[in-house]
């Protein structure tokens, strides 16, 4: 599969192939996120001992788990480059936008996988019933992509610091808060079957577009 990409002339495709190949070789990020998601869902389920959850609680828990799994695994795209001193090679090879874009795509795919898995686990453990599938899917997609963009940029900042991991969560959380609040509200609506508030979907799209634009502008100087 990756041989196919390696013959491509586009730097973004090549970088993307590189991300997936290096992840495939040690499977660190995948396994950490997977373990995190499974452990949290099962521990919540054990401690609740089969008592039913309200839709609000379910959506809040779902997003908390997705957020913290993201924090556990997404920071790695830059910290490994830093540890191996490979970032400067990448910078010689192509423009910073291509680097950050490939990492964002990789993180989005990873996070989307984890979101799907967490939803499945929720369906198994907490009898999650989605009444509005369109809204639910759109919300997950918009939330996950926004989260991936912010956390990729923040990973590149945190990679420069001491105590990378703790700092990564601390700087991500407040920036993602507007997104998380909107997304939990929309997920609750989709679970309850209440019609979506169009303003909130617009807010989410606006937030995603704006952080993407800022990232593309700002990454020039990193």
């Amino acid at each position: 599969m990756h041989r196919l990409f390696l013959h491509s002339s586009s730097p973004v495709l090549l970088l993307l192939a590189k991300e997936f190949v290096s992840e495939y070789r040690n499977r660190y990020a995948c396994s950490v996120i997977l373990a995190f998601s499974v452990i949290t869902v099962t521990s919540i389920s054990i401690s609740l001992a089969n008592s039913a959850l309200s839709e609000e609680t379910e959506s809040v828990l779902l997003w908390i788990i997705i957020f913290f799994s993201a924090m556990a695994g997404l920071g790695r795209v830059y910290s490994t480059e830093k540890d191996n001193n490979t970032l400067s090679t990448l910078r010689i090879y192509c423009c910073p936008q291509a680097i950050v874009f490939s990492k964002i795509v990789f993180n989005t795919v990873l996070l989307l996988g984890i979101a799907c898995l967490t939803v499945l686990l929720f369906a198994a453990f907490f009898t999650l019933r989605v009444k509005d599938w369109v809204l639910f899917t759109v919300t997950i997609w918009l939330g996950v992509s926004g989260m991936a963009v912010v956390s990729t940029l923040m990973a590149s900042l945190a990679a420069e610091a001491r105590g990378t991991h703790a700092l990564f969560t601390v700087i991500n959380f407040p920036l993602l808060m507007p997104l998380l609040l909107t997304v939990t509200d929309l997920t609750t609506r989709s679970l309850q079957g209440v019609p979506a508030d169009f303003d909130q979907v617009c807010l989410l799209i606006g937030f995603d577009l704006m952080i993407a634009a800022v990232t593309i502008l700002v990454v020039e100087w990193l």
């Binding site: 940029l153 945190a158 001491r162 959380f173 808060m177 508030d197 937030f207 952080i211």
Partner: protein
């Protein structure tokens, strides 16, 4: 500068205690708005100024701009704390509890966390130039989420917060005396912000020069 600031402070204080009429529904509680609104405005201004100097730093790579950006963020955080405390006191007197997660209180908490994390980031990076670059990028990113927190999200939900100065309808319906006093207070706070940031920037430059004399190998401020 100090004389102007002092005169404005005295004038605003006099107006608040002797001229301001009690507001309908709130009574003399409206006095706290004369502190709360300007302070909240200046904290948002501080974050915007910080992002402005951060962008300048990223483009010109001049260490002075980094100092200015950091000072503006510090002052913004200080004013933000003042806005939170004055808001909480108002909430206690008007709504009965200091904290009840009104949409405005939620967003100000996130603002506080955002710029607290800015400090964490500055402290965690050791190399001077990396620190400046990293915190500049963070400041720009943080300032771009501020409009969502301050202007958009609180307006989507039901809030007990008295309607903001510039509300949805874009109309200002306030007593004329109150508007004038408020304008005076906003002028005072904005001037105070710029005066304090100038003092702090000078102080930091002086501190850096001293450090530079003590250890001449370190790179100094390029001005």
């Amino acid at each position: 500068m100090l004389i102007i600031l002092g005169a404005l402070l005295l004038a605003v204080n006099y107006a608040v205690f002797y001229l301001l009429p009690p507001m309908e529904g709130l009574g003399y509680l409206s006095r706290i708005a004369v502190l709360h609104i300007p302070v909240a405005w200046v904290s948002v201004l501080g974050f915007a100024v910080s992002a402005f100097w951060a962008l300048r730093y990223l483009r010109k790579n001049n260490r002075l701009y980094d100092i200015k950006s950091a000072v503006a963020a510090t002052l913004g955080l200080g004013f933000c704390i003042a806005a939170t405390v004055s808001g909480a006191i108002f909430a206690r007197l008007a709504w009965g509890s200091f904290w009840n997660w009104d949409p405005r209180q939620t967003s100000i908490t996130i603002l506080l966390l955002t710029y607290y994390a800015y400090y964490g980031l500055r402290l965690a990076v050791e190399h001077e130039e990396t620190k400046a670059r990293v915190s500049a990028v963070y400041s720009v990113m943080a300032a771009s989420t501020v409009p969502f927190l301050v202007f958009i999200m609180p307006r989507q939900q039901f809030s007990l917060h008295p309607s903001p100065v510039i509300n949805q309808a874009g109309k200002i319906h306030m007593d004329i005396v109150f508007s004038i006093v408020l304008a005076g207070a906003i002028c005072f706070c904005t001037l105070l912000f710029f005066y304090m940031s100038r003092l702090l920037v000078q102080k930091r430059i002086a501190g850096r020069k001293n450090a530079e004399q003590a250890s001449p190998r370190e790179e100094g401020v390029k001005i």
